[in-house]
Structures are given as C-alpha cells and as structure tokens.
C-alpha cells in the first residue's frame, strides 16, 4: 500500500480503531494457549454454570463464568477467535485468489473464456448461497476445511465480477499497451502489471467479504453444520448457550459480543480503506 493512502487511513480514527481491534483479535487467536486461563475443552462439574465474576456467586477463577459442563467461558471465547479467523481468512484467501485470478484472466483475454467464466459466476450467484452451504455442510459433515471450501465456493464470483470489470478497464490503458509493445507475455501483464493496479480495489472487497465470511461461519456453526462440536467456536457456543438463556445469559451473550466487535472492526476498517483509496467516494 502506498504510504500516502496509509497516512490518510490513519487519519480516520474509526478505521484506525478497527485496525487495532483486528490486530488484537489476531494476537489473541495466535497466543490463545498463553492467554486463556483454562483449557477450553476441559470442564469441571463442580464449577457448572458459574456466573461472571462481578455477579453474585461468580469467582475470579472464571471471569466470564462457565457453561453447563463447567468449561471456562473466557477461555472458550479466546480459542473461538481461532476458528473464526481461520475460516474467515481462509475463505477470503481462497475465494479472492481464485475469483481474482479468473477475473484477471477473463477481463484481459475476453472472448469465449470470459463468456464461460462469467456464465459460471452468474449461475453460482443465482443460488441462495446459505441454503446451498447448509445442504453441502449437512451432507459433508462439520469440519474447518469443508467449511472453508464451501464458503469459498460461494464467495469467488464476487471477486471475479469486480476484478474482471477492473481488468477490462485497465487493459485499455497505455501502460498495458506499452508492456505488450515491449514484448511482455500475457501472463506477466495480467498477474503483475494489471494485478498491481487493481490490488487496492481487491483489498476493499476482501475486507467486506471477511466480515461476511465470519458471520457465515458463525451462522453455520450455530446450526451445527460448521466447525466440529469439540472445537471451540462462537457460533457453537451461542447455540448451546441458547438452551440456558433463562438461567445463564452470559453463555450466549458473550460469544455473540465477540463476533459483533470483530465484524464491526472489520467493517470500519473496510469503510476507511475505501475512503482512503478513493476520497471521491466519501459523502
């Protein structure tokens, strides 16, 4: 990223806050074993359904309380960041590379390749993706790899459409013509010259899709079709916490708040990034 853009981004305090929170979440996910006070999967039956520390009956041992099996809520939330970020970043990476790569190809080469890929993207978008994802995950069974692939399958057309449009515009510019005149081959022109110039647009979409991917992961895990039951994940926590909503509200409230803050941070950063890259878009 150009330093001028980055400076403009840092001047936007909301976007900076979003960036800081995102970095914090990543650090929490990476250092989860050192940060979590307990093993998130290990329960203690004597400490079942303990309320958060500041409520009556709470204990400093479990600052955010425990669940029906006596597992520490804080530790589960900390480890849950791993599932969300792994799936979220994985989906954006895979769907971004596949969709973006095919978009560059279609936009530069045009012709039959473009027709075919565009049709394929349109067909994919014609499906209500959450329903398709639920069906696929229901049949394949829960799993982080399955989930990442299924969500990427639904996500690539968004990247494809955007990058294809950009690549068509870029292909007509003088620098591409110059590169071609200098005898550069199609592949380097596409994946180096044009890719460099559409990278900013790509990043904005990638941020938006990251928020959506995190929310989709949570929804699918909530339904039991996402992350496997033994792996701590926010969606799963909310789902099992819902059974105790009348006696132990923190079990569903805390992980949901964790999702909300992360997605809010991602969206704030994305909005700031868009404004910084193209100040004209600002209202």
């Amino acid at each position: 990223m150009r330093s001028r853009t980055f400076k403009r981004l840092l001047r936007n305090k909301w976007a900076t806050a979003g960036l800081v929170v995102m970095v914090l979440y990543v650090l929490v996910a990476v250092f989860a074993p050192w940060l979590a006070p307990h093993d998130p999967t290990q329960g203690s039956l004597r400490a079942r359904l303990r309320p958060p520390a500041w409520l009556e009956g709470g204990s400093a041992q479990n600052p955010l309380g425990t669940d029906q099996l006596g597992r520490d809520t804080l530790s589960q939330v900390i480890y849950g960041a791993r599932s969300s970020l792994r799936v979220g970043l994985g989906v954006v990476l895979i769907s971004g590379l596949v969709g973006g790569g095919l978009g560059l190809l279609a936009g530069y080469v045009r012709g039959t390749t473009d027709d075919f890929l565009s049709r394929l993207a349109d067909w994919t978008l014609a499906f209500p993706f959450l329903i398709l994802a639920i069906m696929l995950m229901g049949m394949l069974g829960p799993g982080i790899t399955n989930l990442t692939l299924v969500l990427s399958l639904a996500g690539w057309p968004h990247f494809f459409r955007l990058i294809r449009g950009e690549a068509i515009v870029e292909s007509q510019k003088a620098y591409v013509e110059a590169a071609r005149a200098m005898g550069r081959r199609a592949l380097p022109i596409m994946f180096s010259e044009i890719a460099r110039n559409v990278f900013h647009t790509f990043m904005v979409l990638a941020t938006i899709r990251l928020g959506i991917a995190i929310l989709s992961e949570a929804s699918l895990s909530y339904l039991g079709f996402g992350v496997p039951p033994r792996v701590p994940a926010w969606g799963t926590m909310i789902s099992s916490g819902q059974h105790y909503v009348d006696s132990a509200w923190w079990l569903s409230a805390v992980p949901g708040a964790a999702i909300l803050v992360l997605v809010l941070a991602v969206n704030l950063f994305g909005e700031g990034l868009r404004d910084a890259l193209d100040p004209r878009l600002q209202h």
Binding site: I131, M135, V263
Partner: protein, 336 residues
Amino acid sequence: MSVEFLVKRLVQLLVLAFVIAATVFVLMRLTPGDPVALMMGQDFGVTQADIDRKREALGLDDPLLVQFGRFMGGLVTGDLGRSIVSDRPVRELLLERFPATLELTLVAMVLSFGIGVPVGVIAAVKHNSLFDRLIMGINFLGLSTPSFWQGIMLILLFSVTLGWLPSLGRTTYGFVPDHVTGLHVLDSLITGNWEALKYSVRHLVLPAITAGTSYSAIVARVVRSSLLEIMRQDYIRTGLSKGLPFWRVVRVHALRNALIPMVTVAGLEAGSLLSGSVVLETVFSWPGLGRLLVDGIYARDYALVQSTVIALCVMFVMLSFVVDVIYSLIDPRIKW
C-alpha cells in the same frame, strides 16, 4: 414491456430451475456415505440384506441417468417422494410449512421498509446532521450483528427478563385459526377469531423484528445514498427554485426516482430473508421451510432435503424474475 422479454426471461427461469435441480441431484449423490445405511442405522439388527432390499426398493441401484430421469419426472408431476422420518409425502410437508415462511418474510419486509425508508429519507435530507450520523452509526452496528444472536438477545430481554412476549413457535396450542390461507394473522382476521389473532401477532413480533431490523439498516442506507445523489440533480434545483414546497419535491420528484434502487434491495432482501429463514426459524422454532430443511438434514431425510432446497432455490430465482418485471414497469427507460 414486450412479450418477447417476458418469454425470454421465463425460458431463462426454466433453464435455471433445471440447472438448480440437476446440481442438487448431483451434490446429493456425490456426498460420501450410503444414505440407506445412514437412514436405517447400524444397530437394531439391521443386516446388509435389509439395506440392499431397501436400496432396491428406493431404486438406488439403478443407473444414475435413470435415477435422474425419475427424479426430474417427479419434480414435474409434483411427486417429490416420501419423507422417511415423518412417513408423509414431501409435497404435503412443503405446502404445510410454506405459509409460515411466507408470513414471516412478508411481515419482516413490511417492517424493514416501514422503518428503513423514512429513516433513510430523513438522514439524507438532514445530511451530516447529528441524526444522520447517529442513524449511520446504528446502521453500521446493525450490519455487523449476527442476526441469529440478535434474536436470542431479544428473547433474553423481552421473553426471559420482561416476560412480555413468547419466544418459541408460531402459535399457542389451542389457538390456531381455521385454515384459509395458512397465514395465521390473515386467517384469524378473516374468521374473526380475535384470541387467535392476539396469539399469532405476539408470536410474530420477535422473529419479525429480528429479521426486519437487520434489513431496515440496508434499506435506510440505500435510500439515503440514492436520495443524496438525486437531490444534487438539476431538476430538483429547478423544482425548488420555482417555489415548490420542499417536501413535495422530496416525495414526488426525488423518491420516485429512488424507487429503482429500492426495488433492487427489496429483491435482494426477500432472497436473503429466504436464506436467512433457515437460521432464524431455528432460533425461534418457527415451523417454516428453513426449519424443515435443518430438521431434514439432522435426520438424514434425503428426499425431504433435496426437495426443500430446490423449493427454496426456485423461489429465490423467481424473486429475481419478479424484480426484473417490476423494473420495466416502474422505469419506462429500461428496455430489453
């Protein structure tokens, strides 16, 4: 709108429906595991011979193309097979659950436009005011909230803490209105069953608010930004400078031109409400198509799952068709 356009779009719709059905068929066959073995379970003395017999009875040993032909034939004639778990025709189950999803979707859409349009208009007119910023802030929060969690938090507040509203299901036992349309609120109005009306509405409030508010954020955003764009146009300035009242210009000249993006959002919204119904109906134990799909997957009820998915997908595709038709009706400039 030309007949040619309608026919062309209808053909596209049919092709798309065929592709959807074929995709679902292939995906269901590609997934690992023998459905019959899963269905019958390993214990209770089920032998391989039993499984083989069942496979043959269900026609699962036939060549894939034959199975596909039978499957498509069934779809066309409306024979969608039997649900294994409830031992009833799938078609019956779909028809029974559809009104619940429709009712929730309709009420949620009315709610989201009822909130979103006025809020978006005021935010645009009072551009950059405190109200505008507040609205955009709440909007941003709404877009970042997982709606299923918002639903549970509403249950926590209104059902558990305050005890005002029921949290689960569509009616209270014993207060189901006589079946006319299947939409409970409408049915109780038609039959004059006021008790049933009360219970139906009370059950609708939380799920409808959950679905409606998350979309009112999107509606408000779109209305605001398209109005801001339109209010800068010359004809608006002309209208204002020839002395037309401000709100008349907004209502008659600006809002009408903001209809196109609003129809787009409405179409997208109805589509995602359909998808989202799977999650929200689970949160509120709402007996609609989404809930039927989830229960079908849990029970490995293949016939039920594939038909429900196809039904939801086809409804989704039909929505985009309706949106296209509405476009050409409200904007004479659009021609195909």
